[in-house]
Amino acid sequence: MHTIKILFFATFRTRAGMSSMELEIKNGSTVGELKEILVAKIPALEASLHHTLLSINRDFAFDEDVIPEGAEVALFPPVSGG
């Protein structure tokens, strides 16, 4: 097991009701597995998870990617800057 930091932005911050949390996950867990864990913990996230962008250590990550130890993970909607 290892601890990761999760950040929420925009709609995800509103839905999660917090801007960050720490979570203990199994070694070798993937992004897809993390999403399942998060939905179980925070059901309000489920509606938006099919349209989620996720980053690991400030780079875009995808369902099959393994989350490295101590990672900074962020969840957010497609970007709308400019």
């Binding site: 709609t11 497609p78 709308s80």
Partner: protein, 162 residues
């Protein structure tokens, strides 16, 4: 030896100083700058769509921007690197996103590219920069209108090359 070309990127709550930014990316060899800036639109007259949802003409009171600052700055640097990989004529690049509560007519974003001449791809480079910023730089805005507030969501889903 090729000179070192300036690249500026930042997320800021301060006013965007266009003159200062252009000056910072102007070299003695520079003869052209293409500057794009976007501002808060108070009146939207054309129909559009975001995330497959149509929106009608409407008024905007203000926008509230937020960013995942460390990643946004890394992605801005990536946009600048992509510009340089496509147009080796580009000299300086400035990419700035303002965040916070911003009212109509206020500049919110700037991308400027400089080159020796105007026919070097400098216009296309600035256009590419703003388009990429709107795809991969993690910034979001919440729109406040007379009838309520709503997060604006983009459409672009990044892939492994982003």
């Amino acid at each position: 030896m090729k000179p070192t070309f300036p690249t500026i990127f930042s997320i800021t709550e301060d006013e965007i100083d266009i003159n200062k930014l252009v000056e910072q990316i102007t070299l003695t060899s520079t003869g052209a700058a293409a500057i794009f800036t976007g501002m808060v639109r108070g009146k939207t007259t054309r129909e559009g769509h975001a995330q497959g949802i149509a929106y009608a003409p409407h008024d905007t009171d203000y926008l509230e921007y937020e960013a995942y600052i460390p990643m946004a700055e890394e992605k801005m640097k990536q946009v600048a690197d992509e510009i340089r990989a496509r147009w080796d004529t580009i000299e300086g690049i400035a990419i700035v996103q303002r965040i916070g509560k911003l009212y109509p007519r206020t500049p919110t974003v700037l991308i400027a590219c400089t080159a020796s001449h105007r026919d070097t791809g400098v216009f296309e480079a600035a256009r590419y920069g703003i388009d990429r910023l709107k795809e991969i730089v993690p910034v979001w805005k919440k729109e406040f209108t007379p009838s309520g507030e709503e997060w604006v969501e983009g459409e672009y889903m990044p892939n492994k090359n982003d």
